[in-house]
Symmetry: C2
Subunit: 353 residues, 2 copies
């Protein structure tokens, strides 16, 4: 169990800037994110797309924004806990919050983490980005046994694998499983609803070569059902563009349909909400629970716009409120990074006297 | 008279970002600032000092921050009206605001400007940065005749000039007036309370050379009074470190003691205030007057911190509120610069179809 003064849920731009502002306040933070890298949507959904409305940054990509924020927080050495989805939140008798996560690594052996936090800042955005589910009757029962949403360290070697999806991730996984080596599957079939795949030219060329060599099979069509025998998933039913129904035999199914946000457990914690968003006090960004703050796209208040620039402001005021709660006797005088020796020492740009 | 949809008062970082957000909303803005360049405090007071807390900008100087913001607003080609202090604000019968400025160029011949604005955004910071006054009994009466606060285009050639001040500006002006050429003064005496001047090494070397050549005189001491004869300012009384009182004869006095902020006329417009700051609705950043908004350090609200990051958020919400007022029928759907063709066309990064 990790004890911490501040636990930040979400490592998107607003979560990262919360960590920075907490650091300026002298508060070390732990950060949890469901994705396997920091940056949230910006890193996961549009790493290469230009963003034009970050103040004083005329243009940057989602990846550049993330790297700049990571550089900015680096003096404070936050603890990052990635591929972890926060699942439980419970107030302890001493006022601290016990926060439990579940691992999101694709490996059912991986366990979550427990935190005991004096304050929690929820910067969960529009929710945890989790793989889009394939919804077919009876399929969910095979999760972790024959149904997977991440290649991870799954033992798919030697198996007949069907992959559902048509973008980078699906193509990359098909290539990975078809390559000779200890991970190689017995057969790899990629199913996508249409005959067009979206991936980098290099990946598509490698995919085409493996297909020509008979190591990857491709089937266009809509997945419509599953075939089960003796409590084993044995096949996928696919409706082809020619309106034929095929059965693709399989040992394992890998679903790679991208990720989408799910508010998930946050909605179950009993915090005051309005239209699926947390309501906050805009002076402190406190939620309805003592010691729990929320910033960014997960919150609502009069005038709220879901913009990164607003999240940065919210993160700042939340950090001040966390500091006031943790150190009620500290001076409330506002200090500036340009002139404050204390802040410059915390940033590591001025030696401690 | 200039008619405009939006007049922004103040070209500091928050005023500039207001212009940017207005531009994204399709609204062209005019900007007024009392200083002779954009950037506000950042450009005028700490152009070379590092700032560490601009989000996603691990470090930048005040000058760099300003240049980045100017680049960011450049697609929207705002009208800049510099060296102008807003003095009057009056509501017209059609709901628009008549805004008058006075010139702050140091030349009494220069006139102000009149604007007729549908909306006004006050981003005046801690006030208009105006030269620090030299307070001596009877001195103010000579302003514009023999007393000046800016070198500007003053006709000081051939005159006996006393300069009061000890920093960059005072040293630069002494050098300028002592150089041979059409602007050369008959004599130049710099008075500073102590025998230490603050300026760049180059400027100090040039100053020393001119002093060695007898073209600049330097006198350490406290200015304690003036000498007047026939309604003419004829001398300054200076108390030296040796506690002697000297009279320095002069034809003209140039006071260069730096700048300091004065809230000035903003406090006289009848807008609701609290402890010398404007009170606003934090959903829209509207002041108590219809069509007048305020953002940045000039405002207060519960939780307000005088930080640039908060000003950027306030500027953003104010721009949305200005847009809603000017275009009440427009769709309120939030668009993103990463994905919106309309915003990218306004930014000039996507050709208009």
């Amino acid at each position: 169990m990790i004890e911490t003064d501040a636990l930040v849920i979400g490592a998107g731009p607003v979560g990262l800037f919360t960590v920075f502002q907490l650091g300026l306040q002298g508060i070390a933070a732990q950060v949890v994110d469901v994705l396997d890298e920091p940056g949230g949507q910006c890193a996961a959904l549009y790493p290469d797309k230009p963003i034009y409305d970050i103040p004083a940054v005329p243009v940057c990509t989602g990846r550049e924004l993330t790297l700049n924020l990571l550089q900015q927080v680096s003096p404070f050495q936050p603890g990052f806990h990635l591929s972890q989805q926060v699942s439980t939140l419970a107030r302890q008798s001493d006022g601290r919050w016990l926060v439990g996560t579940s691992a999101n690594t694709g490996n059912p052996q991986h366990l979550g983490q427990l935190f005991l936090a004096r304050t929690v800042v929820i910067a969960a955005g529009v929710g945890a980005f989790v793989p889009k589910e394939l919804k077919l009757e009876g399929l969910a029962a095979f999760a972790g046994r024959q149904l997977f949403y991440k290649l991870g360290a799954q033992p798919l070697a030697g198996k007949n694998v069907v992959i559902v999806g048509g973008e980078d991730d699906a193509v990359a996984n098909a290539i990975a499983l078809a390559q000779p080596g200890p991970q190689q599957a017995r057969s790899v079939t990629l199913v996508h609803r249409r005959d067009v795949l979206q991936a980098s030219p290099d990946a598509l060329a490698e995919f085409a070569a493996l297909r020509a060599a008979g190591r990857i099979h491709f089937q266009a069509g809509q997945v419509t059902g599953i075939h089960v025998a003796d409590d084993q998933l044995t096949g996928m039913l696919v409706n082809t563009p020619e309106d034929l129904t095929l059965t693709l035999p399989l040992d394992a199914l890998l679903v790679c349909q991208g990720i989408s946000p799910k508010l998930g457990p946050v909605a179950q914690w009993g915090l005051a909400m309005e239209r699926k968003q947390l309501t906050v006090d805009t002076a402190t960004f406190a939620t309805s629970a003592p010691g729990i703050f929320a910033v960014g796209d997960v919150i609502t208040y009069p005038g709220k716009k879901k913009l990164i620039v607003s999240g940065f402001h919210e993160a700042t005021l939340a950090a001040f409120a966390v500091a006031a709660l943790l150190h009620p006797d500290a001076s409330g005088v506002l200090q500036y990074t340009t002139s404050s020796a204390l802040l410059q020492q915390r940033l590591g740009v001025l030696p401690v006297a």
